[in-house]
């Protein structure tokens, strides 16, 4: 595999917030677009609220490496309170980006990122999910933001694939599909660069 052919993602969340699910969904959408994928959580004794990490490798050929990811291209922070306790930009490539679930602007958050010089994005995933899905489910908006920022798959195809996937998953609950699709579309538009 060529060195530049691979995109690496690291997800930070808290147990119960759906970081692992978001990571697996990203693997799903990348797979559907014809990529080779890895999606894996870093496991320990899992407890609700404890910080957890999950990873994705996405490439056009099968990636053989089975170690954790230490120099990701993208970091996604599902819970902004983690910024105080976890070194979320550790190893993050300066050519990459960090995406944080927050109502604050990228400019306001940059000071909390230990001098990280790459791009910082924010998205108010809580607000978006509450308005569209009806409760605080930040992982769908964060997934959309990750797709938009990384461009790992084309946004239009992403929308199509997600709709098909939700329709399959929530066959008996069409309103859930609608809410999630709204969340995705809104998130794709509202990711805020800084």
């Amino acid at each position: 595999m060529k060195d530049k052919d691979i995109m690496e993602f690291r997800w930070h969340g808290r147990g119960g917030q759906g970081a692992k699910t978001a990571c697996l969904l990203l693997a799903d959408v990348a797979f559907t677009s014809g990529k080779h994928v890895q999606g894996f959580p870093e496991y320990g004794p899992e407890r609700m609220g404890a910080p957890i990490t999950a990873y994705n490798r996405i490439s056009s050929e099968r990636c053989l490496v089975h170690s954790n990811i230490y120099n990701p291209d993208f970091v996604i922070v599902i819970d902004e309170t983690l910024l105080a306790s976890v070194d979320v930009t550790r190893g993050l490539k300066e050519t990459g980006a960090i995406i944080i679930n927050s109502e604050k602007t990228p400019h306001e958050l940059r000071t909390l990122l230990g001098g990280y010089k790459g791009k910082v994005y924010t998205i108010n995933a809580r607000k978006i999910s509450e308005e569209t899905i009806g409760k605080n489910m930040p992982n769908t908006p964060m997934l959309a933001a990750a797709v938009k920022v990384s461009n790992v798959v084309d946004s239009d195809n992403f929308i199509k694939d997600m709709e098909a996937s939700f329709r399959h998953k929530f066959k008996t609950r069409p309103h859930v599909v609608e809410g999630n699709m709204k969340a995705i579309k809104k998130s794709l538009q509202e990711v805020c660069a800084g």
């Binding site: 693997a27 797979f31 890895q38 894996f40 053989l64 170690s67």
Partner: protein, 398 residues
């Protein structure tokens, strides 16, 4: 033919079991293998398989269930990890000595102290002398492919031995990766029907299984078992050939990666082989003649074949993901170094114990190991051969 999808290693194994459609699953949950009986139980509940799922109260009973079911004439499967397998210990031996080809999905996890749920090979390496065939997997795909091949290997009349199919806990068991699945019909045809000549439920031919053996008979039965393990070698290769004809995916005792002109090499088992291959790729780009052997079959141990593969190499690092506490190296090292004994101009062999309890190993670690091998080849001095890598040291990581 073939469906491309993405599954975790546990999903892949559960799916293979579904396609095999065994008569009985006896299982008790333990991390990180829990998902296998969990997914499989839903296939049972949905009527997608004909399997009798026996929910037991311990792993000892899980293996006892499999033993009994297989002796009765059924095909039995189980899944476990670490301490769960340790609790099966007695029944592992009982099953192999009764020559019952039960198959087990072992999701490798550290066999504890202090308690740990993450990956290493201490569980299966501890069971290496229990008379089970052991197949190891680098990826979800290999776990799936190995499980399907395990059935006809174990059930072959010249073999009749149980088979454990190992994959690395969490690293592949819980990681979603691309995978190519066979059609149900193809799997059904490949594994065929289980048709033992004698079984407990065959009423016209009464049978006693596992009778007491006094000293005057025991050794003859152990000799038979040892011969069966030798017979397994040819069977493993012939099943691999058939599997290749079906899928295009090639299997053997081990995979040789860039070994043709290799001056230094690694011998390694499981998921970290992929990480090491990336190190090989980078070093090859820099003009270094490095290679790798990924062992798939640890029992039976392919000693002659491995020795032949390493005969042109100057220095070899044997990677053990299990500590044997022998004070002179891990279990794989003992086997590989023994296999090298009869090689003319045998290479230097050193041992690295790595990855215990989920300790990560990266491409850079492997690059460093190859550097050390070239140094040994140059100086002719292997130094301390029993080494550990990845642990913290007073003067920085070694």
């Amino acid at each position: 033919m073939g469906k491309k999808t993405r599954l975790s290693g546990n999903e892949a194994i559960a799916y293979a079991m579904k396609q095999i459609n065994p008569d009985v699953m006896g299982a008790f949950p333990i991390t990180p293998s829990t998902e296998i009986p969990q997914y499989f139980a839903s296939y049972v509940a949905n009527g997608e398989v004909d399997t009798e799922f026996v929910a037991v109260e311990s792993e000892h009973s899980a293996m006892s269930t499999c033993y009994a079911a297989q002796a009765a004439g059924g095909r039995a499967v189980t899944a476990t990890s670490s301490a769960g397998m340790a609790l099966m210990w007695e029944m592992l031996y009982v099953t192999s000595s009764a020559r019952l080809p039960v198959t087990m999905a072992l999701v490798n996890r550290a066999l504890t102290g202090p308690i740990n749920i993450n990956n290493d090979h201490s569980d299966s390496m501890g069971a290496r002398d229990s008379g089970w065939i052991q197949l190891y997997s680098e990826t979800n795909q290999e776990a799936y492919d190995n499980y399907i091949q395990a059935i006809p290997i174990g059930e072959n009349g010249k073999v009749r031995l149980p088979v454990m199919v190992c994959q690395d806990g969490f690293i592949t068991s819980h990681a979603v990766e691309n995978i190519e699945l066979l059609d149900d019909e193809e799997v059904k045809k490949f594994v065929g029907e289980y048709k033992p000549e004698n079984y407990l439920l065959k009423k016209e031919n009464p049978l006693a299984v596992g009778p007491y053996d006094i000293s005057n008979y025991y050794m003859e039965h152990k000799k038979q078992q040892a011969e069966a393990m030798k017979n397994a070698k040819a069977v493993i290769l012939s099943i691999a050939k058939k599997f290749e004809q079906l899928t295009g995916r090639k299997y053997g005792f081990f995979e040789s990666y860039q070994m043709e002109d290799a001056e230094t090499a690694l011998v390694i088992i499981g998921s970290s082989a992929g990480t090491a291959k990336e190190a090989v790729r980078r070093l090859r780009q820099a003009g270094k003649k490095v290679g790798l052997i990924k062992l798939r079959v640890f029992r039976p141990f392919p000693a002659e074949e491995l020795a032949a593969e390493m005969s042109g190499v100057k220095a070899v690092a044997v990677m053990d993901k299990a500590e044997g506490f022998s004070a002179c190296g891990g279990p794989l090292f003992a086997e590989v170094r023994s296999a090298l004994y009869d090689v003319k101009n045998r290479p230097f062999a050193i041992n690295y114990v790595y990855g215990l309890g989920g300790r990560d190993i990266c491409v850079e670690h492997f690059e460093m190991i190859y550097d050390n091998l070239f140094e040994i080849a140059k100086t002719g001095n292997p130094g301390e051969v029993y080494r550990h890598i990845g642990q913290r040291e007073q003067e920085g990581d070694k």
